[in-house]
């Protein structure tokens, strides 16, 4: 029988789960009302993953100011997670302040399409799911085992989504907070005609920016 691989899709509800973590049993529902970054790593006690965990810990205070929580996951056991975070604190001086799901039976990993057999048949790849306060998946990243993720981009991504929600705008390539944002393009010939008279910075009627 063919195996069905499920991947979440942008704009759709994040798959519900209840899972054991290093901070007790947690449900996706527990995060309702907050933004959540659910991110997976291949394995505890491995070098790239350790650098990523320290980097996630470093941006956690900034994420909290934005109303964002972090939740890690791998297929390792609770015992392994506990030993690993203790090791990171003892050897590297970094406290890991967020929970980590122990997904031994790969239940959550399968819901979120985290296992990619071309990379590993047993471990999750490096996924990031940005889930909004209504539990909708707003962005996804899937990175290979070899390549650590960039925290600047993850922060930038969350801030861009929050800016979109707050102001009803889009954000251009390489957007940073305080940069100009994209005015939603006109959707009628009449409004297209009007657009160039509205005082925005426009390359043409469909590409206009403004300061917030």
């Amino acid at each position: 029988m063919e195996e069905v691989i499920r991947l979440p899709r942008l704009g759709e509800p994040a798959p519900d789960f209840e899972a054991p973590t290093t901070r007790g049993t947690i449900r996706l529902d527990d995060y309702k009302g907050s933004w959540l970054i659910l991110f997976s790593h291949p394995a505890d006690f491995t070098p790239v993953c350790t650098t990523e965990f320290m980097a996630f810990a470093q941006i956690y205070p900034e994420l909290q100011k934005l109303g964002v929580e972090l939740l890690g996951i791998s297929v390792d056991s609770i015992t392994s997670h506990i030993a690993w975070v203790r090791n990171i604190e003892e050897k590297l001086g970094v406290n890991i302040p967020f929970p980590i799901i122990a997904d031994l039976n790969k239940e959550v990993a399968q819901l979120y399409g985290m296992v990619h057999p071309g990379q590993s048949k047993t471990e999750t790849v490096r996924c990031v799911f940005v889930i909004d306060p209504n539990k909708v998946v707003r962005a996804m990243l899937y990175y290979p085992l070899t390549t650590g993720r960039n925290m600047d981009e993850i922060l930038r991504l969350v801030e861009a989504l929050q800016t979109t929600d707050k102001h009803g705008v889009a954000t251009p390539a390489n957007w940073r907070p305080d940069d100009m944002v994209i005015v939603p393009p006109p959707n009628t010939t009449e409004s297209a005609e009007e657009r160039l008279k509205q005082g925005y910075e426009c390359a043409d009627w469909y590409l206009c920016k403004k300061k917030l």
């Binding site: 901070r23 007790g24 049993t25 947690i26 449900r27 529902d29 527990d30 995060y31 009302g33 907050s34 909290q64 929580e69």
Partner: protein
């Protein structure tokens, strides 16, 4: 946060939530505000304490059970 230790007693995190309910039933939001704990941790913790019968749900709030009161003293 893990609120019940393997011996069935509340952990320090669990005690914080129990103490927050000493003054009467509270919603998870009120408990989060009082304890300064993140919402996900409060929701997860109260559920765990309810499973251990130290708190019980009352509408959208939680309150101490007699068993829970034994750890923090009676509800005000």
């Amino acid at each position: 946060m893990a609120c019940i230790s393997p011996d069935g007693k509340p952990t320090e995190s669990g005690m914080k939530l129990l103490r927050a309910l000493q003054s009467g039933p509270k919603s998870p939001e009120d408990v989060a505000q009082e304890t300064g704990r993140p919402m996900y941790a409060v929701r997860s913790g109260l559920r765990e304490l309810a499973g251990a019968e130290l708190v019980t749900e009352k509408g959208e709030s939680y309150e101490l059970t007699p068993k829970g009161s034994e750890f923090v003293g009676p509800q005000a």
